[in-house]
Amino acid sequence: MATHMQSASVAVPGGSVSSNRPKPGFMSRLAYHLQRYWQLWILVAPGLIFMFLFAYVPMWGIQLAFREFEPSKGLTGGDWVGFKYFIQFFQSPLFGQIMWNTVRISLWTLVMGFIFPIILALLINQIGSKKVKGFVQTVTYMPHFISVVVIVSMLNIFLSPGSGIIGRFFGDTSLMGNSGAITAVYWISEVWQHCGWNCIIYLAALSGVDTSLYEAAKMDGASRLQLIRYVDLPAIMPTCTILLIMQMGSVLNVGFDKIYLMQNTLNQTATEVISTYTYKIGILGGQFEYSTAIGLFNTVINFLFLMIANGISKKVNDASIF
């Protein structure tokens, strides 16, 4: 990001600036800046306005998490109650269960959803024939376009005891009702659905590897595995790091729709996560202030994770997003 900005400003046409005049005031500097770079500002204006209107303006409503909600007085008109709803959430008997479910399901999905696309990309990259490669790629990313509702129905059918193609191996009860197996059902189906799609970005990085590197390595007697280890992996490492950092920002985000659709009375002690709980309390129960507080808590934790992951990565291998 930083290097982009620098190169952009260098690329702006214009004469050299005299360095020995007195330092001008802020307004005149601003005017000068705008005069020089106004085209660039126009260019980013739609994005900035969009961000401001749809990301920053609504943040005004966050104070709802600290207020008693009174519809007649509007979102921000109720009495200030401080951290009441946060404490209510922390003291709820479901708090421990919900947090554990959320972290467990999302970490499994995050880690597995991170590793498998890399492996798949490295494997696809080994395929020599262009036709076969294209075919495999298409087949693996197709499931990405199936809607969540259909995926969950498919899971139900696959896992139905006796008749399902997978369910028939697991006795006379469905894995969908097994609170011990539901996490695995969730992340395996998630990986299966998105693996092919997510590996595209790695394939792009791999296609940029200089072929002379392979040749040089082969000259030195490298085997296939060693080629992967010493040429392919380092080539996609920066991409991996960036993607991992971005995913860390959603460590507490288990997507609502899929887990909600998978929920039933038998597995709900293992599938009640923050998003489903917020839905039940906030939308169905109409307690907007309480669910806002839970949502805000969720976001703060995600933000912390993002910052920590970014910081570690900056220290360890010099790749970071900011």
């Binding site: 005017a31 005069q35 519809p71 139900n156 039940k280």
Partner: protein, 537 residues
């Protein structure tokens, strides 16, 4: 040169900013409601929730009659059940309430947004038909009475629906084929189910019979937990009542179904049935659509022996002739007849919370005229069953006949397409007799066998009235605790049914259930408080 380009920048920035500001404004504006029409008559805006909208309300002659009665114009907005479910919360937060709402809001909404609901008590003089309705039906009046204020008006769909909403059915043809007696106790039912499983009652040579089919455990409509009535505990599984939240009353004391010993018996019974393969093992995990495909099958060969639903026609479709209502069972043969109860949900079946008015409505006089007209006998009948004479004929003496040829379209066996059906606001008095109301006739037929057991219910002492409505604050406490309680207890009960272990696990379950942090006792205390108040009245 420099100056002009600077102004250019300012202009451009201003233009972009202005354009950006206009976008949301443009989205909000444009739907202003004129208060009067071109001819000077007032306009009343009515929003109604419907499940089918093939024929619009504005095209029904019913609307013209209403307009004649109020000397005004009516603008209808129709909204489907699904759409309403998604929009409701947002619309209420935005303060977007129609002049008149039909089947949109319930008492929870009223306690949450008290300023957005008109208090009808000040207008009762303008509503003689509603006044008469309240005099005739004290239960309906109590449902909406909030310290002398009425923020919602109820509807009464008449004596055809004075029935329990839940019935248990059994395949009489199968009983006859195997030469079996109608079961009267749980043990006999189990024996019958075993015979259903093993002796090929549908005669197709395949072991495809599902002896008993149940829906998810819960405290709502058609829950298998209605078997609690066999043990002497009364349920009331419809609408929004203490019972649908899991509470009942015994000897003046409010208790939780979850913690009842009787619940243990019911769960143990179901667990036994499931372990013997008499209830499908995937009951709690399958898709809902599979249930209907098992009860109705192809319309020729019955697959299901026993199940629980609204009416036999509704539950089994074309196979309806094979099924009869299973009279409420005794838990054991030695228990006295009068201890057998049945789901006491007739009040919630007959009455509904329907009509609300926005206190900011401009043409309040016209609104009141519309409402009063709706609660008259003729327009009530037309609102529910269809316009006269197009779909319904007035035979005189309070008798009306539905022309099923015309009124039942799209394969439906009710009038939901050409009338408002159960989304109507009105009062159908007992003096009205409906001919050809198939839904009512079917459910009444299904209800006959339950009448003895229903007569055993002491409504005063064994039922928490459905018209009790806690305050907003108490409702939040109830709801928050309930989320936690249901999450734990429903899961445990389902697991017991699925995997067994009730006997060994029950004490541990009870211990966790009654842990203070779960809030069960807090909820019981809240309901006790309201029950005591209600009884004291």
């Amino acid at each position: 040169m420099r100056h002009s380009s600077l102004r250019g920048v300012k202009l451009a920035v201003a233009a972009v900013a202005a354009a950006a500001m206009m976008m949301p404004l443009a989205a909000c504006g444009g739907d202003d409601h004129p208060a009067t029409a071109d001819d000077g008559k007032p306009i009343v805006y009515i929003t109604v929730r419907r499940n089918v909208t093939d024929v619009h309300v504005k095209d029904m002659p019913f609307t013209q009659e209403l307009e004649a009665a109020c000397d005004c114009h009516i603008e209808w907005e129709e909204i489907t059940d699904n759409a309403w479910g998604q929009q409701k919360s947002a619309k209420m937060v935005a303060g977007d309430f129609p002049d008149v709402g039909l089947s949109l809001f319930d008492l929870n909404d009223v306690s949450q947004y008290p300023d957005s609901f008109l208090d009808f008590s000040e207008y009762m003089d303008q509503l003689p038909n509603v006044k008469k309705f309240f005099e005739d039906r004290p239960t309906a009046e109590k449902m909406v009475n909030d310290d002398g204020h009425y923020y919602l008006l109820p509807s009464d769909r008449g004596k055809g629906y004075r029935v329990s909403a839940t019935h248990m059915f059994i395949n009489q043809t199968w009983l006859d084929n195997l030469g079996l007696e109608m079961p009267t106790t749980w043990d006999e039912l189990e024996q019958v189910l075993i015979a259903f499983k093993n002796e090929d009652p549908n005669g197709n040579g395949e072991a495809d019979e599902i002896p008993m089919n149940i829906r998810d455990l819960g405290f709502g409509l058609w829950s298998p937990l209605v078997l609690l009535n066999s043990t002497g505990i009364v349920t009331n599984f419809m609408g929004n009542s203490a019972s649908t939240q899991g509470y009942y009353v015994e000897d003046g004391e409010v208790k939780s179904y979850y913690a009842a010993d009787e619940m243990k018996d019911v769960i143990a019974f179901y667990s036994k049935l499931m372990s013997e393969g008499l209830i499908p093992k995937d009951t709690f995990t399958r898709d809902d659509s599979q249930y209907a495909s098992q009860t109705q099958n192809d319309g020729k060969t019955a697959l299901t022996g026993v199940s629980i639903g609204w009416s036999s026609a509704n539950e089994y479709g074309d196979l309806v002739d094979q099924y009869v209502t299973l009279p409420p069972l005794k838990q054991s043969a030695d228990m006295p007849d009068e201890d057998v109860k049945w789901d006491y949900s007739m009040d919630a079946t007959e009455f509904a919370y329907v009509l609300s008015v926005n206190p900011d409505a401009v043409n309040m006089d016209a609104v009141m005229k519309v409402i009063n007209a709706m609660y008259g006998e003729k327009l009530s009948v037309e609102g529910y069953f269809g316009s006269i004479p197009d779909y319904v004929s007035d035979d005189g003496n309070g008798q009306y006949t539905i022309d099923t040829e015309k009124a039942y379209v799209n394969g439906r066996k009710d009038t939901a397409v050409i009338a408002l059906q159960d989304r109507f606001a009105g009062y159908i008095p007992d003096s009205v007799t409906m001919i050809n109301d198939t839904n009512a006739d079917e459910v009444t037929a299904s209800d006959e066998a339950c009448r003895d057991a229903l007569a055993n219910v002491d409504a005063e002492k064994e039922v928490i009235p459905i018209w009790i409505h806690p305050t907003q604050e108490d409702n939040e406490t109830l709801a928050n605790n309930r989320t936690a309680i249901d999450n734990f207890a429903m899961n445990q009960l389902s697991t017991f049914v699925q995997n067994g272990g009730v006997e060994e696990g029950w004490d541990n379950y009870l211990q966790q259930l009654t842990a203070e942090s779960l809030g069960l006792q807090e909820n019981i205390d809240i309901w006790q408080k309201y029950y005591d108040e209600a009884v004291g009245q």
